[in-house]
């Protein structure tokens, strides 16, 4: 029952828990592994070399890597929340896991994802990305300083590559040193360590995004436990210890299952106790793969050939391998492979000094080809942060340019320092330096002695092993990007089409556009391009731009908890519960929920609105107008300020009185409107539209702070200090008289556009104004917001015997449109002046105000602009859709049809017993009396142009009638 490729514990214990056996299903077959396995290591243990077929060519493919660079083994996870395209190397094995192989994209579930994703915002002095030897060392030295340290690593365990090898630190196994470091870090209160956490973005000013997997490895997850968390990290210093990715080499048939990265083979051997093949050819351009060869030999595998591009590899390494039974082929290269569903042999030949093939090729049988084409420092985050790279010939990789202080500090393999002693030294120094820079002075600790270190002699890079026969344009089995199935032939085609830049070539060939974003193919592609362009080095080609995210991130993680009811705030007034209980239908006005109408059983919107309108015109009705914006404007210069921002005069307004005002932008176009009250000589209360409140306050503040800082004026938002009820209709006076017994509500005692401070019968202090947005006698009762519900209920009770009718925004719209009162943002759209609206009366000629000068512009001054008019469809029941365009009656309806303007508001009126509309029509005032056509829904409706007032044009209803 043991897995065929699992090594005996006496040979390699591995970092797996053999006492527990995990069952999992892959492509319908039940297989087994252990805690500590990844899906990839368990598949390899079970002898699954081929795991998929390639996306375009359908070629068999196997596991290549042991980390997130894996290009082939993408899997689909099943379960409650199926997840596509995960590298098997990044899936921790758990009992009951069900996965299937993928060729190309996978699928998402048809049910909503119930997994919790959330966010966390943290600040740290020193953030260290990567917990290999250099990152751990940096965390230790920074942590000891007392600085706030944040260490993130994407693996389940800290230690990075030390977990794959046999290095010794301070006289003990490296794993002991790691364990000590982990314990020490855990005991420092200001150090936070995240595992299974990938830094996916590194931005300006040391801001990072870290995606943490929190529950994937757990058997059970609580309902409120987040599966993934996106950490927003603001740092003062960033240290990148992100390591290096091993590169494959491009040669013919380099994609067969069983061709793996050399360090991955070593990782599977030592970490997972898995031997992926018995007879291994090792192909390398540098020293590191010798460790793989030695480990393979140590566990009993054969290494019939260690093919090294270098003519003179370090002698001690050659000796070690040959002493262990392997054979080194210096100055040679693998040129192709044989086999089908797995590699069966490698063809090897010699390389001359220029790197050309020479000698007589020979074949070596193998079932595993471990390749190391060199190491690419993981500079993605450094590049994202704006760091520039240079080609390092010695290291054969792109490395960070030495950076200024504003860029992250890069250490260890990520800056091509591959030896352990150097990595530890850089880490200890960088951690101490970063902490010191944050004000936590500390000296770098002593570098512990190491042994079993990775050798670090000069590599002989090789991007592309030439084919034996055909020209490069036809090397279509030399794979550059395994995931995209892109070959050398594709690169040559791109270059033949005139591409030179690596970014163009990659877009043309799709190289590096896969799920792995080219982690194994990117630098090789640059090398192949450099060869094709015959330039000296990859450095002359340059890299692509590094953009976040470094690794794929779920959209659900970006959304976090801001979904469903937490997606957007819903603002409600203090009377909302009453409206809900009354069965109101609501509409959204910005973030506000406003009652639109209150249908009675059996009523549709039309019927409800007609009933509500009749109540307001003939009896009494009430509306919640709490959502209007309110700004208290205070200061000795407040009168002057209002005069400057409003088109009409406010300085002369008497205390205790109110006035309608309009605001324009500097372009003279209507910005907002509302009624302002003068509370005292130096104190006004301005009201704004519901949607415009925040914008108006910003507008006022901008003028006060940038242009008129000499004015003694302060603006304070008091929108929610107040709750307000409009009491509207000929019977409203009776209702208000009952509500406010101390108030003289007669038209003589309480004039239009006046307000009074009083107490309601129940003791609630109130400010009552006589303003009207309907043309009817109307009062607005303002109370402190916390009295809102009680006041609404009091108004309802006081008006009950008059049949007081609650009405919503839809009725309010009909009533105001009947009177030709505009709604800013509905009847205006940023291109409309007060004069276009016929509001000349509200535009002062005696003072300056924002926008006034724009009225003299030729375009604003012309008399045939689009102007507000009324429209009466000749068919009395025909309702024009808002937004419909108007044309001359005789114009042929063939595009382009000359448009005259459009309908801005259109309603059915109970008072008029017909439909009507407001519209903005070119030269509209001169067209009054004309008939125009509104083509819509396949026919044309004739409408008469009228003045934009349909009801009580003389304003006789404003003061109502006196009762008793």
């Amino acid at each position: 029952m043991t897995s065929p490729n699992r090594l005996d514990a006496t040979v390699r214990p591995g970092r797996i828990d053999r006492t527990r056996r995990l069952r999992f299903t892959f492509d319908g077959t039940e297989l087994h592994g252990h805690p500590g396995d990844t899906l990839a290591s368990a598949l390899l243990a079970e002898g699954r070399t081929e795991v998929t077929t390639s996306v375009h060519r359908g070629r068999p493919r196997g596991i290549v890597a042991a980390d997130r660079t894996e290009p082939n083994a993408l899997v689909q996870l099943h379960g409650d929340c199926p997840e596509p395209m995960l590298p098997a190397t990044r899936v921790e094995l758990r009992d009951g896991l069900v996965a299937e192989s993928l060729s190309g994209i996978g699928w998402v579930g048809d049910r909503p994802d119930t997994a919790v994703h959330d966010k966390k915002y943290v600040h740290a002095d020193v953030v260290i990305v990567g917990a290999g030897p250099s990152g751990l060392a940096a965390a230790l030295s920074a942590g000891r300083s007392g600085a706030r340290v944040f260490l993130v690593d994407e693996q389940a365990e800290l230690g990075g590559r030390l977990l794959d090898g046999h290095e010794r630190i301070d006289g003990a196994a490296a794993t002991d040193w790691i364990a000590r470091a982990v314990r020490e870090l855990a005991e420092i209160p200001e150090v936070r360590v995240l595992t299974r956490a990938t830094a996916v973005g590194c931005y300006d000013h040391d801001y990072l995004l870290v995606a943490e997997h929190r529950t994937d490895h757990l058997d059970t997850v609580g309902p409120h436990q987040s599966q993934q968390r996106l950490w927003h990290v603001r740092a003062r210093r960033v240290v990148l210890a992100t390591g290096a990715h091993e590169r494959p080499v491009v040669f013919e048939d380099n994609d067969r299952p069983g061709i793996m990265l050399a360090a991955a083979v070593r990782s599977y051997l030592n970490r997972h106790a898995v031997l992926p093949g018995r007879d291994a050819v090792v192909f390398t351009t540098s020293d590191s793969a010798y460790s793989t060869a030695l480990d393979l030999l140590a566990v009993g595998a054969s290494v019939p050939a260690l093919v090294d591009t270098r003519p003179q590899p370090p002698a001690h390494l050659v000796d070690q391998v040959e002493a262990a039974g392997g054979r080194v082929h210096p100055g040679s290269t693998v040129i192709s492979t044989k086999g089908h569903d797995r590699v069966r042999g490698a063809r090897v030949t010699e390389l001359d000094e220029q790197g050309c093939l020479s000698g007589i090729p020979y074949e070596v049988d193998c079932d595993l080809l471990a390749v190391c084409g060199g190491w690419s420092p993981v500079v993605h985050l450094f590049g994202q942060a704006g760091g520039s790279l240079r080609w390092d010939r010695t290291a054969a990789g792109f490395v960070p340019e030495s950076s200024g202080t504003h860029l992250p500090r890069v250490i260890g393999s990520a800056r091509a320092t591959h030896d352990l002693a150097g990595s530890l030294a850089q880490g200890l120094a960088a951690g101490a330096e970063a902490a010191t820079a944050c004000g936590f002075r500390i000296a770098a600790p002593r570098v512990p002695p190491t042994s079993g270190d990775r050798p670090n002699s000069r590599p002989r890079p090789l991007w592309l092993v030439p084919g034996m026969t055909k020209p490069p344009e036809q090397w279509d089995r030399h794979f550059v990007d395994l995931q995209r199935d892109a070959t050398v032939a594709d690169v040559w085609r791109a270059i033949g089409a005139g591409m030179r830049s690596v970014e163009h070539v990659e877009r043309y060939t799709t190289i590096s556009t896969g799920q792995d974003r080219g982690k194994t193919s990117g630098v090789n592609a640059i090398g192949v391009i450099a060869d094709a362009l015959m330039v000296d080095s990859p450095g002359e080609v340059g890299t692509t731009t590094f953009r976040p995210p470094y690794a794929p991130v779920r959209f659900a993680l970006m959304a976090g908890r801001e979904r469903g009811h937490l997606h957007e705030p819903v603002r409600t007034t203090s009377m909302h519960s009453w409206h809900e209980a009354a069965g109101a239908e609501f509409e959204n006005v910005g973030q506000w929920k406003r009652p639109r109408y209150y249908p009675r059983p059996g009523e549709d919107m039309d019927a409800a609105v007609q009933r509500e309108c009749r109540a307001a015109r003939t009896g009494v009705a009430m509306q919640d107008v709490s959502t209007l914006g309110r700004i208290e404007i205070v200061g000795s210069d407040a009168p002057e300020f209002l005069d400057r921002v409003c088109t009409s005069g406010f300085a002369e307004l008497a205390v205790g009185r109110a006035r309608y005002g309009m605001m324009c932008g500097a372009d003279g176009m209507v910005l907002d409107d509302g009624v302002s009250m003068r509370l005292a000589a130096d104190r006004y209360l301005m009201s704004t539209t519901t949607g415009g409140a925040a914008g108006v306050l910003e507008w006022l503040e901008e003028w006060l702070r940038t242009e008129w800082s000499e004015l003694d004026v302060y603006c304070t938002s008091v929108t929610e200090q107040w709750a307000a009820v409009a009491v509207v209709g000929p019977r409203s006076r009776d209702v208000v008289a009952r509500l406010a017994p101390d108030l003289d509500v007669s038209s003589a005692g309480f004039g239009f556009m006046e307000f009074r401070e009083t107490e309601l019968y129940n003791g609630i202090p109130a400010r009552i104004s006589r303003i009207s947005f309907s043309g009817e006698l109307a009062f607005e009762i303002n109370v402190a917001r916390w009295y809102g519900l009680a006041t609404w209920e009091a108004v309802a009770a006081a008006g009950a015997d008059h049949g007081i009718t609650p009405y919503g925004a839809e009725t309010m719209h009909v009533l105001r449109a009947e009177k030709g009162f505009v709604v800013v943002g509905q009847d205006t759209d940023g291109t409309v002046t007060p004069l276009d609206l016929g509001m000349d009366r509200l535009v002062s000629r005696h003072k300056d105000f924002i926008g006034k000068r724009s009225f003299a512009r030729q375009d604003t001054a012309r008399t045939d602009r689009k102007q507000l008019v009324g429209l009466l469809p000749l068919e009395r029941e025909r309702l024009l859709p808002e937004g419909v365009h108007l044309v001359e009656p005789d114009v042929p309806l063939r595009p382009p049809v000359p448009m005259l303007g459009h309908v801005t508001s259109s309603y059915r009126s109970a008072a008029l017993d017909r439909t009507f509309a407001l519209a903005l029509i070119r030269d509209g005032r001169r067209r009054i009396g004309d008939v125009l056509h509104a083509p819509f829904e396949g026919s044309s409706t004739a409408v008469e142009v009228t003045r934009p007032v349909f009801y009580d044009e003389e304003g006789a209803r404003r003061d109502g009638v006196e009762h008793g």
């Binding site: 603001r234 908890r561 008091v718 929610e720 200090q721 003791g763 609630i764």
Partner: protein, 209 residues
Amino acid sequence: MTVLNTVEPATGLASLRRSPLADRAAEFAASSADGLRGVRLSEEAFLTQVNLRVPPESPALLAGLERELGLALPHRPNSVVGDERDAVLWLGPDEWLVIAPEGRADRVVSRARTAMADSVGSSVDVSADRTTVRLAGPVSRDVLEKVCSLDLHPRAFGAGQCARTLVGRVRVALWQVGAEPAYRLLVHCSFAGYLADLLLDAMAEFTHA
């Protein structure tokens, strides 16, 4: 207590008031947890809040205000002078918020206006404009860190400090009132329901563990 009683509105009138989160008190209590990993949510309704705008370059005016109010105005940005009962929050270079027990707004406003008579400045009662949400307990900072991007670490933000910031998508004045830690979040009333939903959601991992 006697002081409180004199300023408390008549019981009849007080019974007519309703705070934005009044009907959620039981839910808050049920969703709170005590203990080492505890966090509690509650509403502190009807606190007196008066917004002061004073040009900071008039020391005489500021001194007069402090005398009249019997409270010092904090001059260090984002700091609070006073305690949970009577306090002044620094909200901006020329802006402060006076906090007092409920029912004091008229008195505070009139005293401020007395101090500012003939001078520039403004004092506005905003007591009903915002309600106060209290988040307290050992993990309350952990909860806030899920929805607020400010640095709330004790080295950066502690008791007696305040900030205007975003919590989720809502603007609040955040005031740390205690080292436990305990926070007050002053939020515009119409956003209080959303803020409560957001905080309850962020608390769930601790309170429903």
